[in-house]
């Protein structure tokens, strides 16, 4: 083998090594590294996801525990108007009068106080009204004084506070 050929072989070898190095260093290793990074990224994301899922489950459980209050929330959000109140009271008595006494704004909610006067046949009508309010989860609070006065029918006067957001 001549000296010239030896140099050519050496050059070929160097070319091969350079190409091999270039392919490995600039293609294979970066892709392998990226695969490693992505895997690590996935494991981090999965652990975060696991925590979020646990939190979501806890919140779902809490939400389920509070489901009973959802009925009230509807009236808190949409409000229960004076008209709604009158329409409801008419079912239980006659000559219904509802007068607004005042309105208060608290930190998280609002209240509207009304003076109600109506005529009922028997106190049972009042009990039925209270039962309806409780069963339908209407945020209405009955307040003293409550006066029953017997005339031709029973004249009933009481205060009501309606809660809303």
């Amino acid at each position: 083998m001549g000296a010239k050929n030896r140099i050519i072989y050496l050059l070929y070898t160097l070319l091969f090594i350079s190409l091999f190095y270039a392919v490995v260093a600039f293609l294979i290793i970066p892709d392998m590294k990226r695969a490693g990074d992505l895997k690590e990224n996935i494991s981090q994301l999965e652990s975060k996801l696991k925590i979020l899922k646990e939190k979501n489950n806890d919140l779902q459980n809490s939400f389920m525990e509070l489901t009973w209050y959802k009925g009230y929330l509807k009236y808190f959000e949409n409000g229960f108007s004076k008209k709604d109140l009158e329409n409801l009271l008419i079912i239980y008595g006659n000559d219904v009068t509802v007068k607004k006494v005042n309105e208060n704004v608290e930190k998280n909610y609002k209240t509207a106080k009304y003076l109600v006067s109506m005529k009922i046949e028997t106190p049972k009508n009042f009990y039925s009204f209270l039962n309806y309010v409780e069963e339908n989860r209407i945020p209405i609070k009955i307040e003293y004084p409550i006066v029953f006065e017997k005339k031709d029918l029973i004249e009933l006067r009481f205060n009501i506070t309606i809660f809303s957001f």
Binding site: L38, Q60, L66, P145
Partner: protein
């Protein structure tokens, strides 16, 4: 030779087998030399065959081949093909003839060496019987005391049977004829290393890299390419997995945010609702209790329920009857006061009860 070598399909037959490229060369610029002869011609290259004889090929011819057909690795001489055929039965008393369309190759082997060889191109006046006769004459002229007993013809073309008869008639030597497929014979030679060792290996001016290294390099880079494609494919899968996880994360975060808001709202109304429920329930039970306490004989005219007090007004047939009611009221109110007024045979009473003992709601 004016025409291109590649175009001259009769003189130069190219054969490829097992990644090797061979060229069967019928040129007249070749001959064999016995080992004993020390003949050296500067314009010819000599190739030793098994340390028995040499094949001489014109250097000019070799250069031309290298230049025009650079991929050729081995040159197969017709003498080599005949020698290869000779190695099968080693008949040293025969005139070995290879017949081709335009060429005839003749050899006689002695002690395993080609010591008489001729390569001839057929012309229009070519007659086989005359040719063989002349060749034998020439042989006997150059080599005394060595007699040929038969003629072996290996035919790569269609040989006329009449010619065989004529040859026999002219030479009186037993003539054997065998048809051969030149192409497949050459492929056999080119394929197997044990035959190729007799072929003339072209030493290229440039660097020739062995095939196994070339194939290895190709495989190495194919492997690296495959590896890279695999990693890229895997990365794309991982990337899409990340996108999926991120989407799931976003939807979970959104859900958590909504749930948190709803729960906060619900929690904010819980104490209010509990207060409403208990207060309404207490008021209802208080009113119910008081009305149930009133005896049938007492007729109430007015009942005023306050947080800590109760005012009752009504008619009782007797004071005694009222005190029955007051006895019951005792357990609910600490301070009690009653006033009676007689009206049309009945007592109009006004009962004021204060400081309730029990919680009557707010």
């Amino acid at each position: 030779m004016d025409t291109s070598l590649i175009d001259d399909k009769e003189t130069y037959i190219s054969v490829k087998a097992n990644f090797k490229s061979c060229l069967f060369v019928n040129t007249l610029l070749q001959y064999t030399v016995c080992k004993e002869k020390e003949e050296i011609r500067d314009d010819y290259a000599y190739f030793e065959i098994e340390d028995r004889f040499k094949i001489a090929i014109s250097k000019e011819e070799l250069e031309k081949i290298k230049k025009e057909i650079p991929n050729v690795e081995y040159i197969i001489s017709p003498f080599l093909l005949l020698y290869n055929l000779f190695l099968k039965d080693k008949n040293e008393k025969a005139l070995w003839i290879l017949n081709q369309k335009s060429f005839v190759t003749v050899s006689v082997f002695k002690e395993g060496s080609a010591f008489f060889s001729r390569q001839i191109k057929k012309d229009e006046e070519f007659r086989y019987d005359e040719f063989v006769k002349e060749i034998i004459k020439e042989f006997y002229k150059s080599e005394c005391c060595y007699f040929l007993e038969e003629i072996l013809i290996f035919d790569a073309e269609d040989f006329d049977e009449d010619e065989l008869k004529k040859i026999y008639e002219k030479t009186l030597l037993e003539t054997k004829y065998k048809k051969i497929d030149l192409k497949s014979e050459l492929e056999k030679l080119c394929k197997e290393d044990k035959f190729l060792k007799y072929a003339v290996k072209i030493e290229k001016d440039g660097v020739s890299i062995p095939n196994w290294i070339k194939i290895s390099i190709v495989f190495i880079f194919l492997f690296l390419g495959g590896l890279d494609i695999y990693f890229r494919y895997k990365n794309s899968l991982l990337q899409s997995q990340i996108v999926e996880i991120q989407n799931e994360k976003i939807s979970l975060q959104k859900n958590i945010e909504e749930l948190t808001k709803k729960i906060a709202l619900l929690k904010s109304i819980v104490p209010i609702v509990q207060d409403i429920k208990s207060s309404n329930s207490l008021i209802k039970s208080n009113i119910k209790n008081i009305f149930e306490l009133v005896p049938d004989k007492i007729v109430l005219k007015r009942a005023e329920f306050n947080k800590k007090s109760l005012v009752l007004e009504g008619f009782t047939p007797s004071k005694r009857e009222y005190f029955k009611l007051e006895k019951s009221l005792k357990s609910f109110y600490q301070i009690r006061d009653v006033k009676f007024e007689k009206k049309s045979g009945k007592y109009l009473f006004l009962s004021i009860n204060k400081e309730a003992k029990v919680n009557n709601g707010r």
